[in-house]
């Protein structure tokens, strides 16, 4: 008996150790980037910088770096894309979630396609089309391209919200004397607001993190943070402290989201929209 309980305890400890090893593997890659962003001089093979400093951060926030305007462009793009995605996805999600119509299952497959087909397959063709329409290298062009990535996700998330609603709530509100406008503002929107918040946050983050559409369609004219980081990385012999500072800035929105997501939105919404 004693042997069995001992074996069980040791296997428990092994499992705990493996779990922590995985956790450390996830956290460790952040370390060199954090250190590099506060580095003045750090030569091979030192484990820590010879001279610390905030040169990269003063550069990043100085007026002659592109970072400030890139942050602004990224935020504008994120807000525009999120707003448009929400406005066009709401009615479609309501239709799919609450109505039966011919071709509904086909439409659902169709909506899955842009989610699975990578931007690299679409962007080259789309860029050629946009050149003819003079939409290339414009914010509008990048916004339109980004909608391809964000709309299917938003529609899926909102559809499952509408599906979980009692389809008769509108009738009930109407019979109590509400008009169409009141039904939307007083009944529908309050019920679906958690889904809207979750979907909007996701869309916003997806847009901030997106790279290929802004890179290709924006062709250097629409400079967002991710494209700026890629340009820094692509140069070769890059400036590690500045690139580190830049990547930290790019990671911050996602980290903030993670810190507050547990309080803001339920866990189900995370896995929602992924065929869960």
């Amino acid at each position: 008996m004693k042997n069995i309980s001992l074996a069980r305890a040791s296997s428990k400890i092994t499992i705990r150790l493996i779990l922590w090893a995985i956790a450390i593997m996830i956290v460790v890659p952040f370390l060199p980037v954090l250190i590099w962003s506060f580095t003045q001089k750090w030569f091979w093979p030192d484990l820590l910088p010879e001279k610390w400093g905030v040169r990269s951060w003063t550069y990043v926030f100085s007026s002659h770096s592109q970072v400030g305007s890139a942050i602004l462009t990224t935020l504008i793009l994120g807000i525009l894309v999120t707003f448009i995605t929400l406005v066009i996805s709401l009615p479609a999600a309501k239709a799919i979630g609450q109505r039966e119509f011919k071709g509904k299952s086909f439409l659902e497959i169709l909506l899955l396609a842009p989610y699975l087909v990578s931007p690299t397959a679409v962007a080259m063709g789309l860029y050629s089309v946009f050149i003819q329409m003079r939409l290339n290298a414009t914010v509008l062009g990048v916004v339109l391209a980004m909608l391809i990535s964000t709309t299917p996700m938003m529609v899926r998330m909102l559809t499952s919200v509408f599906e979980s609603l009692d389809p008769n709530y509108e009738e009930q509100a109407r019979s109590l004397g509400a008009n169409s406008f009141q039904i939307i503002t007083r009944v529908t929107i309050p019920i679906i607001i958690p889904g809207i918040v979750a979907g909007s946050l996701f869309t916003f983050l997806t847009t901030l993190n997106a790279f290929f559409y802004p890179y290709m369609i924006g062709s250097g004219k629409v400079m967002v943070l991710s494209v700026l980081l890629f340009n820094f990385l692509g140069k070769g012999g890059y400036d590690l402290p500045i690139t580190s500072a830049l990547s930290i800035i790019l990671a911050i929105p996602g980290i903030i989201f993670l810190l507050f997501s547990e309080k803001l939105i339920k866990e189900e919404y995370f896995a929602m929209g992924f065929g869960h």
């Binding site: 087909v117 397959a121 080259m124 993190n209 991710s226 790019l250 869960h276």
Partner: protein
């Protein structure tokens, strides 16, 4: 006061018409995105693949570019490199995530902290992870420095070239790192949704932890594992930035090869680049079909279980 509650015929007709056009109107904007923008971009690439690109004064129409894309010496190598990187990272991340999901089901003191850490990769952009892996595993990176201090290597040249190599180690590491968050979350919430009475029944019947895992938990998670794997395959196989930064010059993945052709000053390569992007889309289409079959099957079984419960 008398109110006429009868609805006139014209009102009925108007309502019917309104109902008829309401549905298309609700779907129209989303259809514009999916068919117009997404479909339009793909169609343009498809046509351009035949060599018909009027804006750069190429107006031929032949299959030779598609044939050239398929027979290009880099094509097969790029296809296999991409497959290897995607599949390996999925296998590794799924194994790790399965372990995480199952272990997190039991309660212990540090569970909450661990759960939080495992979620970390979810919203970190791939570009940032790519850069992190670069600073960690490059020849002068932190790992190489550690190896030096441990006396394993004498100079940066002795460090095994983990990045820019045919092995694709750096790329795989980036994908595994980012997939762990997503896969473990989906699998964990799948286990949470499992009926706890099954678990209890198995335990009272004397099933060991392993039996519980192989006979009950794994089969229950299988559809989710397959679907998440397909999603991750689609995301990684179509990725450009990570293999471009961390991958070898050649062979690299299909999106990298296609985009390099597209960027080339030789405009003759452009139809071939477009043809390759069509190939990438076709592979995604296959995934879409398989994904859909699995999803339908799962919905069908879930509906069956539901109806049997009601009985």
């Amino acid at each position: 006061m008398n109110i006429d509650y009868r609805v006139t015929k014209s009102q009925i007709r108007r309502r019917k018409l309104f109902k008829q056009i309401q549905l298309p109107l609700m779907l129209l904007p989303v259809l514009f995105v999916v068919i117009g923008l997404f479909g339009g971009g793909l169609l343009k690439a498809f046509i351009s693949g035949f060599g018909y690109i009027p804006e750069i004064k190429q107006t031929e129409f032949s299959l030779k570019y598609y044939i050239a894309a398929f027979t290009h010496p880099d094509f097969l190598a790029a296809l296999f490199f991409g497959l290897k990187v995607s599949i390996l990272s999925i296998v590794i991340s799924t194994a790790i995530s399965l372990f995480i999901a199952v272990q997190l089901m039991s309660y212990f003191r540090t569970r909450k902290i661990l759960k939080f850490i495992y979620r970390f990769p979810l919203q970190i952009p791939w570009l940032v992870i790519t850069f992190m892996i670069l600073t960690l595993f490059s020849d002068g990176g932190l790992v190489a420095r550690l190896c030096y201090h441990l006396g394993l290597i004498q100079s940066t040249n002795d460090f095994p070239h983990l990045l820019y190599s045919q092995g694709g180690f750096g790329i795989i590491f980036v994908y595994v790192w980012s997939e762990i968050g997503f896969v473990s979350l989906v699998l964990f919430s799948r286990l949470l949704g499992m009926d706890p009475s099954i678990d209890e029944a198995a335990r009272t019947l004397g099933a060991s932890r392993w039996q519980l895992f192989w006979k009950i938990q794994l089969p229950l998670m299988m559809p989710s594992i397959l679907m998440v794997s397909l999603l991750n395959f689609a995301f990684t196989f179509g990725d450009y930035a990570t293999p471009q930064i961390l991958g070898p010059t050649s062979p690299n993945t299909l999106p990298v090869v296609a985009f390099r052709m597209y960027q080339s000053t030789d405009l003759k390569l452009r139809p071939q680049a477009m043809a390759m992007s069509v190939v990438i889309a076709l592979i995604a289409a296959i995934i879409l079909v398989v994904y859909n079959i699995i999803m339908r099957k799962q919905q069908y079984t879930e509906a069956k279980v539901q109806s049997e419960k009601k009985k």
